[in-house]
């Protein structure tokens, strides 16, 4: 089975020399556990031939690049900022609405009702699907995060978009990674996503009396249940490192 490296020290060997080509990975974690950092480390470790695309919904593009530079990861990637696009179109509209609700609709817009248009509603999922369809084989994709999609779109539509990405990943020889903050969603959503993906990785940041226990698990590995396991993880100047504990 051909695999591509994750870039995370000791993780590739715990998997099958990395992530098998065609696989879709879910990385879920508690807030502050470092899943976003993992996502950047993963995209920054792409092979030269891989078309690397990082789709972000929450961060500014330059912050992503700066963080990756701090860790000396490769930054020759394409960043698609769904969040900024969303903000530009949808939130801008909401800002207008709150202004109009407060001050009333200005007369100028009443007289020229057809000149003014709040831009057509952005359908993030359509935009996302479009971006995915542009990926060339082989590719490496990160979607950070699913939380944004679930909080702005209908759950069933998000799930169906994820299925599209998954099959595209399979047929186009790619690998895809989705991030998701756990414990926020009804179990039907959680299990819906978990059922689609081939590998589930989790990161937990558990508070102890003396500090934090950082637990990394391989929760699911399609057709390789023997790979499931629990690890500790930590941060170094090169990024995330995992260590076997059992």
């Amino acid at each position: 089975m051909n695999s591509v490296p994750t870039g995370v020290e000791n993780l590739d060997s715990a998997l099958i020399s990395g992530i098998p080509i065609g696989y879709t990975v879910l990385l879920s974690g508690t807030p502050g556990s470092g899943i976003e950092l993992f996502a950047k480390q993963f995209i920054g470790s792409h092979l030269p031939e891989e078309d690397a695309t990082y789709i972000t919904t929450t961060e500014k593009t330059e912050d992503i690049i700066n963080t990756m530079k701090d860790f000396n990861w490769k930054t020759d990637i394409k960043i698609v900022n769904l969040g900024e696009e969303f903000y530009r179109r949808v939130l801008e509209k909401e800002i207008f609405i709150s202004k109009y609700r407060e001050e009333g609709i200005p007369a100028s817009e009443i007289l020229r009702p057809h000149k003014f248009h709040i831009e057509k509603e952005l359908d993030i999922l359509t935009l996302l699907t479009y971006e995915i369809s542009m990926l060339k084989s082989p590719f490496r994709l990160v979607l950070d995060s699913l939380d944004f999609l679930f909080s702005n779109e209908e759950n069933s539509r998000v799930i169906s978009t994820l299925r599209t990405i998954k099959s595209h990943t399979q047929y186009r020889q790619g690998v895809s990674l989705f991030t998701l903050v756990t414990t926020l969603y009804p179990s039907i959503v959680q299990s819906g996503v978990e059922e689609i993906v081939d590998i589930i990785l989790t990161m937990e940041n558990i508070r102890t009396q003396t500090g934090f226990d950082r637990i990394f698990t391989i929760k699911k590995f399609r057709n390789h249940p023997e790979k499931v396991g629990i690890f500790k993880y930590n941060f170094s100047k090169n990024g995330i490192i995992i260590q076997k504990i059992f």
Binding site: F96, I97, Y100, G104, I105, A107, E109, I110, H114, I118
Partner: protein
């Protein structure tokens, strides 16, 4: 002796005669009837005659896009389409809903207040003297409860009346409706009711008009036959030949 109130001439000569000199200024009048009985035509003509006298009109379209309405508008001998567009402000209420973020099926009291405030704002800023809301039934549909419908109509008509504005509320009468309006509340809180209908008499279909109620003036309660022509609406008394109002 009853104080004689200032009148707002509809410009439809026969109707003004039926009303003994026009609609008492500031009244809110329900123009009610089933589909195809001439409610919109009557309302537009009311605005057109206002515009001819320099009284600004406001047409708030709820169900049909005003552009489409203008396309299908009857061509009057006495007033060009260009003049109509100059003297009457046409607003599509879905645009107002969108600008105010009123996207829920059922409006809250806050939404109702906002809607009233914004209509009043337009009326004030443009010194509007005649308002048509076509149709009130479609707004009522999103107000749902009788209390909210009553609140909306009462507060709107009070505000508009204080501004010296005479208002037509177009009401769609479905066969299921009892009385003169769909929710029953509209007729109770209006100052006047003009009922439009179709009368079948021995196989002939006649359009009819009757002033059912008009506060502030004595008026005929007889039924009239109506004809829509290029010189405006014409009325003659219905001959007493029997027949059923449908």
């Amino acid at each position: 002796m009853e104080k004689v109130r200032e009148r707002c001439l509809t410009g439809i000569e026969a109707l003004d005669n039926i009303l003994n000199g026009g609609i008492p200024k500031g009244n809110t009048v329900l123009i009610t009837g089933s589909a195809g009985t001439g409610k919109t035509t009557l309302s537009i003509e009311f605005l057109v005659h206002g515009a001819m006298k320099g009284e600004k009109g406001l047409y708030i379209s709820v169900t049909e896009a005003s552009e489409k309405l203008l396309e299908n508008l009857i061509v009057y001998d006495f007033f060009s389409k260009e003049m109509i567009q100059k003297g009457i402000i046409f607003i599509d209420i879905p645009e107002i809903y969108e600008k105010l973020g009123m996207n829920k099926l059922q409006f809250s009291m806050e939404d109702i207040n906002l809607l009233i405030e914004n209509i009043v704002k337009i009326v004030t800023e443009f010194n509007v003297k005649r308002v048509v809301i076509d149709s009130i039934t479609s707004i009522c549909y999103r107000l749902q409860t009788e209390e909210k419908i009553m609140e909306f109509i009462l507060r709107l008509s009070k505000a508009l009346s204080e501004l010296g504005c005479t208002t037509f509320l177009v009401s769609e009468l479905l066969p299921s409706a009892k009385g003169y309006s769909q929710y029953g509340v509209e007729e109770a809180v209006s100052d006047g009711i003009i009922l439009l209908g179709n009368l079948e008499r021995r196989g002939d279909l006649l359009r009819t008009l009757r002033v059912v109620k008009m506060r502030g003036t004595s008026h005929s309660r007889a039924t009239y036959v109506l004809d829509i022509t290029s010189i405006g609406i014409l009325l003659v008394p219905l001959l007493k030949g029997g027949g059923e109002l449908i």
